[in-house]
């Protein structure tokens, strides 16, 4: 009897231990984080399993075309025609929507350096971006006479010390910005008398107070001295900076 009792106690004890083990296992198991961090690749995330540099995002090979973005319209994509001349016409209809989109994008990407007016007096320009070369002023004679393709090309490939925006702005938006630059150029050179009478009063009510730091002749004035001695036009500028030769494919990978 006593023996039986003892073995029963043992069994109970064993059952208790087993139950405790199961509960503990369930509790501990319930905490594991498989679903929290799944072995899948998310944009810009870290992954030690596949590539040696631990980055899921692959650097793009030169000439890479994003999926669905193979627009085979040469002029639309490059701003040049097949003979290597800058295009003089927009490859799409210029509508108020296009210009509005251009204004929106211009204010994100360009005003820091070129200013709201495109006169090259943005806040970054004032903070020292002009050390090497002054920021371009769209309102100069030379740029007002440039074919529209030039502006598309500058945004796409950069210009001198200005970095390319190829990887940040899609072609459609680059054309939109180019259209807005034309608007800025025209509006800065339109005499008040040519504006509809009802808008004139509105315009006169708005006071444009030129910035204290800005050269006095802006926004309309002679081209800055640098344009006179710029080495061999745009190609020369690009080589002079030496910066645009570095591949632009450093997508910031991280954990």
């Amino acid at each position: 009897m006593a023996v039986w009792l003892d073995s029963r106690r043992g069994a109970v004890r064993a059952a208790k231990a087993l139950a405790a083990a199961i509960v503990t296992a369930a509790l501990v198991g319930g905490c594991h984080q498989d679903m929290w961090s799944q072995p899948k690749a998310k944009a810009q995330s870290k992954n030690d399993m596949v590539f040696a540099d631990s980055s899921n995002s692959r650097p793009t090979v030169p000439g890479t075309v994003a999926y669905g973005k193979a627009d085979l319209d040469h002029e639309f994509e490059t701003g040049y025609d097949r003979n290597g001349h800058l295009v003089k016409e927009f490859p799409m209809p210029v509508t108020p929507d296009l210009v509005k989109r251009g204004q929106d994008r211009f204010r994100i990407f360009c005003t820091p350096c070129h200013g709201e007016l495109g006169d090259g007096q943005g806040f970054i320009a004032k903070r020292g971006f002009t050390q090497a070369r002054p920021v371009g002023n769209y309102l100069t004679e030379r740029l007002r006479n440039m074919p529209i393709g030039h502006f598309f090309d500058v945004i796409t490939n950069g210009y001198g010390t200005m970095f390319p925006y190829r990887s940040r702005i899609v072609p459609y938006d680059r054309w939109a910005i180019a259209s807005y630059i034309r608007v800025l150029q025209v509006s800065a050179h339109t005499p008040v008398s040519e504006i509809p009478a009802d808008k004139q009063a509105e315009l006169n009510a708005m006071k444009y107070t030129p910035d204290q730091d800005a050269p006095k002749e802006l926004p309309i004035g002679p081209p800055p001295a640098r344009e006179l001695n710029a080495p061999g036009g745009q190609a020369g500028n690009r080589v002079a900076s030496g910066m645009t030769t570095i591949p632009a494919a450093t997508n910031g990978g991280r954990h």
Partner: protein, 248 residues
């Protein structure tokens, strides 16, 4: 037979009832405080980063648009962090000798990405999407805290499920609209808010709270305005709490 329960047992009884009733709750409460506290959720703890990048300086004092660097935030699920090229757009010319920018220059010269430490995360079984929230006019500060005040980026909210649902139940309280600029689309309103901050324009009390990272834009006495905004922006809350919205 001797008395089993001595008078002293009264005290023991009271105390044990009290302890039995209170201690489990106290433990649960403390536990939940700890798991929901900054120690676990990392809210308001700035992380170490390869370069001491300051949003206060770039996004507020300089007034750079969020989209200059977070280009995906309007159209994609992910806002995305800027490539080294984006920093070099300016820092090839400005502050070129700063030791604080050493990591950026190294990354540029060696053509290797910078590895930022991620501040905000949701688990992999949650599918978050930026574009829809921005398109409906929800300001970044609502979810990320006072980004415009951060010298180093910290996590503004804990991103618990309850927190997401609190808004999905009734987003009307959190929609932003600047009454001085009714012509702007909801998306433009979001970025216009930061323009206003950078320009130092006068703010309404609600906007001030948002700038301080304490969102609740529409005060309780003006709920009808929020509801009207929701209609105007075509927000349908009927399915917004369904599990498949975030877990699919």
């Amino acid at each position: 037979m001797a008395q089993i329960f001595k008078p002293a047992m009264n005290t023991v009884c009271t105390v044990s009832i009290f302890v039995g009733a209170v201690v489990p709750f106290a433990i649960l409460f403390t536990g939940s405080r700890i798991t929901r506290g900054p120690l676990n959720t990392k809210v308001e703890n700035p992380l170490d980063q390869p370069a001491p990048f300051s949003h206060k300086h770039h996004a507020y004092e300089l007034g750079l648009d969020c989209r200059f660097c977070h280009t995906g935030v309007e159209d994609n699920a992910q806002a995305g962090l800027p490539a080294t090229e984006v920093c070099m757009t300016c820092h090839s010319q400005i502050w070129t000798n700063s030791p604080n920018l050493e990591a950026i220059r190294k990354s540029w010269e060696s053509n290797t990405p910078i590895q930022w430490n991620k501040v905000n995360t949701v688990p992999d079984f949650v599918y978050f999407n930026h574009s829809i929230h921005v398109a409906r006019g929800i300001v970044c500060n609502n979810c990320h805290g006072p980004v415009n005040k951060m010298p180093m980026t910290w996590k503004g909210e804990d991103f618990r499920m309850m927190w997401c649902l609190e808004c999905h139940k009734d987003p009307s309280k959190y929609l932003y609209k600047d009454d001085a600029h009714p012509e702007l689309t909801p998306k433009q309103q979001v970025f216009n808010f930061y323009k206003k901050l950078a320009a130092g324009d006068p703010l309404t009390p609600e906007e001030q709270e948002l700038a301080d990272g304490l969102p609740q834009l529409v005060p309780p006495d003006k709920t009808h305005e929020g509801v009207a905004l929701m209609k105007e922006r075509g927000i349908n809350v009927k399915q917004l709490k369904d599990c498949y919205i975030c877990h699919h």
